[in-house]
Symmetry: C2
């Protein structure tokens, strides 16, 4: 069990979609801010990591949504770096409402990437010790992501404001591409309840990605399957269950 | 002179561009939050206005930028509804840094739009009184915006997350289209110092707009001229001076 860090947040009008619910791109951007704040507090901010020639990269999220916070709502975002092994760090995020109910749980995997050759670096004691995470041997396998079979797609050009101070497309932007392709009628009528997303390769400025999806009917409801590709190269894949 | 309202804000990593300066889309989104908070405080929130069959629409901004706030910086945003006449309300916004230096001044014009027929409504005492703005006779004319003459363009499809709880494309999104078209090399090497932007017509979900621009060399520096159009129909126009 690692150190916990909690940050209060009030959902702004610009975080909301047409139903005044917090959008997934905004939610992920805010959530990641807690881990940045915790790292800064522990003397392990992005500049410190960059000084070692490394950078954090998120490889996947598993998101369980009871309900999305509404515009104007005061929430808390809590994070904890639970455990790590040689290459992978496992971090949870929770969103709670004012009554203390859990609205969202996000399980994430972080890896360290060498900034020069973009290869994975091992997790050193120096970097990880302050988080008081548990050292484990096991590699946690996330649920398998089903492929898109009978897909439709739309293309998205990476925009200047999609890239952040780390020169990369922020993870939160992928959710814009993953979801937008589903269209107004679908998005305004359905709520995501479970998301499994894997980031395979980094998208860069100048790229034009294709966001592919199909919709599968299951007993419990609808499932959408997603792939972000450039030609045959896979950049991101996701399965989303809806209510 | 109207009532003033000030809100503190800490620039988040997701507000920053690759130079870690606050982006104009983020800045405008945050700035407008102050006027929303003030209106709520004075019992004149968007729901109250909607109850009268009306909604606020911003028709233009004149923005003077000394410097853009940086990621991590603690700023204050102040707003004041200065004056109004039969149809137009004039509101200023200021961004100050921790030392009290003025970083940005935004002069804006708001009008009331009938939600059914999208026609301008007159500004009633009932709506405006709590702001203690000065009633004036004069209509303030903003600086004339020069047309694009020898332009290049790029098209932008309105995305689901570009529309907000008022079912409209948020003003801040226009700045994404206006600026993105200038490209990485221009944007990462130049700072905007003065922006004059006029919103002529509301863009809706499903639209695909073209963002046109040209670049003019002036004695004091570069000026870019912008038009957002669908075919021959003008939706937004802007002139921006750069350092």
């Amino acid at each position: 069990m690692g150190k916990r860090y909690t940050m209060p947040y009030e959902v702004a009008y610009y975080d909301g979609d047409i139903t005044k619910q917090m959008t997934l791109p905004s939610m992920l951007a805010v959530v990641i801010k807690t881990s940045e704040e915790q790292s800064a507090l522990l003397g392990r901010d992005a500049e410190y990591i960059a000084g070692l020639g490394l950078g954090w990269v998120i490889t996947n999220y598993e998101i369980k949504i009871d309900r999305l916070p509404k515009v104007g709502e005061k929430i808390t975002v809590t994070t904890e770096a639970l455990s790590y092994n040689k290459y992978f760090c496992y971090r949870n995020f929770w969103i709670h409402d004012e009554e203390g109910n859990e609205c969202v749980l996000i399980k994430s995997t972080f890896v360290l990437m060498n900034r020069e050759n973009r290869k994975m670096g091992s997790v050193s004691e120096e970097i990880i010790a302050p988080y008081e995470s548990e050292k484990i041997k096991k590699i946690q396998r996330s649920e398998k992501i089903e492929k898109v079979e009978d897909g439709r797609s739309q293309s998205y050009r990476v925009r200047y404001f999609d890239i952040d101070g780390n020169q990369h497309v922020n993870n939160a932007i992928y959710f814009n591409w993953l979801l937008d392709v589903l269209g107004y009628d679908f998005l305004s009528a359905h709520q995501p309840v479970h998301i499994n997303v894997k980031f395979d390769k980094e998208v860069e400025y100048g790229h034009e990605v294709e966001s592919h999806y199909d919709i599968v009917e299951e007993e419990q409801g609808l499932k959408t399957r997603h792939e972000i590709r450039i030609g045959e190269q896979l950049y991101c894949e996701a399965n989303i269950r809806w209510n």
